[in-house]
């Protein structure tokens, strides 16, 4: 992988400002220059001061900035002026919410089941026989359940059941210190919930950035209610990538002891939050996975997982504009 610093994670506090049409981070009386032409996305994890002039330059260059709070909680995104807008698509996307919502939402739920199946099948093949029932259910029953329903709330219940059963499987996959009884979101109450929350937030921001580079409207979503959040389409397109990018990273970090409860969580907070070094380890592993390349089976060319997110955006556009069937990314089929 070429060391392109299109993405930078800023953990130090300081000031970001514009100088000579480029970006400078002032940290401890020292200037670090971030070349504007090799920057696509910035993450701020600490106290960062920004000026309007800086934001102007970032906006013009189409650079997105994601802000996280001191405890790693997602705060928000500086979203530069839209450069890609197609009125025709925006109208069609809104109409698709009205007429084809269940088709798109259903495809996403099936996609989640497919990718979880593929991730867990690996453990099943290595002797975790207790997954058999769940795997059968994912492969055979979920597609039927999805096809039979034409009510969004019923579909969301299927989705909820998929995740709930998936979380139960953690007891078998992960060491006891990371086992989890229940998924608790805000705020997370134990190490595994903390990892999931952090990973999902990171993925959410990655998808925002990829959708920015398409013509899709970030607010019109299908599985989630539109404008549930400002970027609710990102919630939709994130779903099938959670097993692929977030959970595979978590399993790798925990099972290979890159992240441990003692070293990487905040003891004072009952280990319910990743500490700074924990976040850094996770980010490095997550970025490596995002940039990993595979041979894309439809396009017949090398493609990174990050790019696969963008391609799912294209698939959605093609479904909306050209009635081509929409099947989100499948880890098994590599397409």
């Amino acid at each position: 992988m070429s060391k392109s610093n299109e993405t930078r994670y800023i953990f130090s506090s300081g000031e970001l400002f514009q100088k000579d049409f480029s970006i400078v981070l002032r940290k401890d009386e020292k200037n670090i220059y971030l070349p504007i032409k090799d920057t696509r996305e910035l993450y701020c994890f600490n106290d960062i001061t920004l000026s309007t002039k800086m934001l102007q330059l970032l906006s013009k260059a189409g650079i997105i900035v994601h802000f996280f709070g001191y405890h790693g909680n997602y705060i928000g995104t500086f979203y530069p002026k839209e450069q890609l807008i197609s009125g025709r698509l925006t109208v069609a996307q809104a109409l698709a919410y009205k007429d084809k919502r269940m088709m798109i939402a259903g495809a996403i739920v099936k996609g989640i089941a497919r990718n979880i199946y593929f991730v867990l099948y690996h453990y099943y093949r290595h002797g975790k026989n207790e997954f058999k029932d769940y795997l059968d259910w994912l492969r055979k029953d979920v597609p039927n359940l999805v096809d039979k329903t034409n009510d969004i709330n019923q579909l969301l219940r299927v989705e909820g059941a998929i995740w709930a059963k998936f979380y139960q499987s953690f007891r078998t996959i992960l060491p006891e210190s990371f086992a989890m009884n229940k998924r608790v979101k805000r705020p997370p109450d134990n190490p595994i919930n903390a990892l999931i929350s952090f990973g999902n937030s990171l993925l959410y921001t990655k998808v925002i950035t990829e959708i920015y580079h398409t013509h899709l409207d970030q607010a019109i979503s299908f599985l989630h209610e539109p404008a549930e959040r400002r970027f609710s389409l990102s919630l939709d397109l994130s779903e099938v990538f959670k097993p692929v990018l977030v959970f595979k990273t978590i399993f790798d970090c925990v099972n290979n002891r890159k992240i441990t409860v003692e070293k990487h969580f905040d003891k004072k907070l009952n280990y319910a939050l990743l500490n700074e070094s924990g976040r850094k380890v996770f980010i490095e592993a997550f970025e490596e996975r995002l940039n990993q390349a595979f041979e894309h089976q439809t396009l017949k060319r090398r493609c990174s997982y990050k790019h696969a997110i963008r391609l799912d955006g294209y698939k959605l556009i093609k479904f909306i504009m050209e009635e081509k069937s929409f099947t989100p990314f499948s880890l098994e089929d590599k397409k």
């Binding site: 060391k3 953990f11 220059y33």
Partner: protein
């Protein structure tokens, strides 16, 4: 256009005092400042052309001298260093 796969460049410059700041300012937009008169970093072929075009406009070809070494990526050369570099300008996390 033949060298389409080059995505990394190391740039050395020796320019007259009057033009140093100009050259420095241009390089800063594209590459990371690595050593006193050395920049380096990932750069796309299009940006590389643009960088060269901008530099050509400000230097005096009689007195100034700029060298570019292009490689496929930062992993296609071996590097050793000594002493303290301070902050690594190329790291993912800063």
């Amino acid at each position: 256009m033949k060298n389409f796969n080059y995505n990394y460049v190391i740039l050395f410059y020796d320019v007259g005092e009057k033009r140093v700041t100009k050259v420095f300012k241009i390089c800063k937009q594209y590459l990371k400042h690595y050593q006193k008169s050395v920049f380096r970093g990932h750069i796309t072929p299009g940006n590389f052309l643009e960088l060269k075009g901008k530099l050509k406009k400000v230097i005096d070809p009689e007195y100034d001298f700029i060298t570019f070494i292009q490689t496929m990526s930062e992993s296609s050369f071996h590097e050793e260093s000594m002493g303290n570099t301070g902050i690594d300008p190329e790291s993912l996390i800063i």
